[in-house]
Point group: C2
């Protein structure tokens, strides 16, 4: 449809009204309650047009009215309109090795419910899916909602996610390769269900409300007992042609496979410390001046830096985010990581610590759900607010 | 400006006319000469509107008319309109280590003039710039043009190009780091002058008219005595935040720095063969069954594959293009390269040989010049066809 045809044929007037409604919704979102005059200025539409459209949005359920208080001293104050972020809700879920975390948010991304349960690292797929169901059910129910109130669900998992929504390339979760979360969750939800790699979601979260909110070119490092990466280029999360972007860690020459072993095998870790907790012990000991622990952290950073340099040299990002479980020890890692990167790279990016910690994957999942809503509901036209159905 | 305002206010009628003209120009480009009826179908504009606009485009110089021959047997044949690709011209130049190549093309990318001169690998910046000037002058003059007829100039150079258009990070051209080609060429041309890395331009060329014209996610390998890469992601050439994307070769762990030495140091290369020609001798000998040469090619491919795998694991492209000087020996490289990559990568991309050979950088430079024209002239509105000035 050509823009000039919109202008000149009568048949497209309803489409024009839809686009106008969309302009007003966009002008309401991410703003405080606004008057007709403010909306007119923001959209370029006339005040009478805004008046009619805004009242239609209230009828449809996209906006609510704030009537002016009677007590105002200066003339007759104007009525204000507000986007009804509560018109719909989305879920973001992190199915991790050790925990399952679900966040429920409104259309502005305000989190209204959080449910977290730990899960055994060696739990099989049936047990893990049962825990997932419990967490999701509890999150929806505690918010006073039903599954049909949810407009989009995104689940983060460990491992690259293929076109079918499965981690068929590789996943450390036992027995998880054949699990199809889209199918599993579609038994409960009629809305779109998205499955995505945990590192990619964490990258999205850091750009949304974390350490990279000012950047469009971001390499996110998920650093822990396993290393991973999420890549944002020109403001867009990149999945790769088959969903396997960011998997540089699989190349043994860049040393990510080996890096955490320097911490686990550090001399002096007491027998009472479990292998899962060894790294935390080493970081604490290094902070306290233990020489063996410091040397282990340095060896760890040297190996981490090689894989990070491969990403930086390939993509030349503005910023590298050091995230994941080890980001709690960013105070020990960031400076030596910068030193190593400046030795290995042509152009040095900024290196920052994640500010979102353990919730970053679930937050990124929320954000992907919100993006899905934006694409489907606000991308082209605007109908009354109801949960979209899978296509 | 809101789309509905375009529809309803009189003040924007000239803007509407401009957008309509643009629709018709787009409908004319990349098509055979077209009738008013065909243009109406292609744009959704009415036949009377197309008629008026097309005649205006002829007056402005954007289109030419093909009057129907009188000999047609079936009724009165319609007049046809054609985009005037010759309304403007662009230059694409490759400043290489051993040669300088300039291509001059019309707005459809049809090459109308080619000038190539060899240059000594050890030539200093003044000598190389003098050769560049000769090549560019000859190319423009032989086409019967003057510099003011050129609408955009793009020059490809070896080394990552920074924000100032200089190869300040690194370049193998002696003394070239401080050279500012934009400044140098702006003394001759008033149109936009772009400087870009050779690998990035070659990648663009392969997608334009080479081995990757069907793909949006492309890793281009420039393989020769030096290795480089150009990256196209989601259909767009990616430069990185500071222009240094694709420079994975600088990381010694991925072995590109070492790879060509396996060819140069192959046992049995006669003393009469210069170091520059050693690789070609080894490829030929390997093709003839020489065991030492075959072993050297295998060692070369094993090292090349590590850097290629770093790019593939990071970006998960649809296709890897094996280009550069060594692509003449793709028959010896492609199969072992596929074997190595499938061993190292999670998801295997297609691996194809470049089809553009030694002209790929200059062709990519042409394409970038054409993109610049498209962005400036056809991106928003349409005025009469004259060379744009730098902003």
């Amino acid at each position: 449809m050509n823009v000039t045809e919109l202008a000149t044929t009568g048949a497209d007037l309803s489409r024009l009204r839809e686009l106008n409604s969309l302009s007003i919704v966009r002008a309401l979102r991410d703003h405080p309650p606004s008057t007709v005059t403010e909306l007119s200025q923001r959209t370029g539409l006339s005040r009478p047009a805004v008046d009619v459209i805004a009242q239609g949005l209230v009828t449809d359920g996209w906006a609510s009215v704030l009537e002016p208080g009677a007590s105002s001293a200066v003339g007759r104050p104007a009525r204000r309109y507000q986007f009804r972020a509560g018109a719909g809700h989305v879920l973001g879920v992190d199915v991790g090795v050790h925990k399952i975390l679900a966040l429920l948010a409104d259309l502005d991304g305000n989190i209204v419910q959080t449910v977290r349960r730990s899960v055994a690292a060696d739990a099989g797929p049936a047990a893990r899916l049962a825990e997932l169901d419990k967490v999701v059910n509890a999150c929806v129910a505690k918010a006073g909602k039903t599954p049909s109130d949810i407009w989009a669900v995104t689940v983060g998992v460990t491992g690259a996610v293929d076109a079918a929504g499965q981690t068929s390339f590789f996943t450390p979760l036992p027995g998880w390769k054949g699990v199809n979360l889209t199918t599993h969750l579609s038994a409960r939800f009629t809305c779109p269900v998205i499955v995505e790699n945990d590192c990619k979601l964490a990258a999205l979260a850091e750009r949304w409300k974390g350490a990279a909110s000012d950047a469009d070119d971001i390499v996110y490092l998920l650093a822990g007992m396993r290393n991973g990466a999420g890549l944002i280029i020109d403001g867009v999360l990149r999945r790769g042609y088959g969903g396997a972007a960011g998997e540089i860690g699989a190349l043994k020459q860049v040393r990510w496979l080996n890096a955490p072993a320097h911490l686990q095998n550090c001399p002096g870790v007491p027998d009472t410390v479990s292998p899962d907790d060894a790294a935390a012990w080493v970081f604490t000991a290094a902070r306290d001046g233990n020489r063996a622990a410091r040397a282990a952290v340095n060896r760890y950073v040297k190996d981490l830096a090689v894989g990070a340099a491969a990403l930086v040299l390939t993509l030349d990002p503005q910023v590298v985010i050091f995230g994941g479980g080890f980001s709690r020890s960013a105070d020990l890692v960031l400076d030596p990581l910068r030193t190593e990167l400046s030795r290995l790279c042509l152009r040095m990016p900024e290196v920052r610590a994640s500010t979102l910690g353990a919730d970053s994957v679930a937050l990124g999942a929320l954000k992907l759900s919100l993006n899905e809503i934006d694409d489907r509901l606000f991308g082209a036209g605007l109908s009354a607010p109801v949960a979209p159905r899978r296509q």
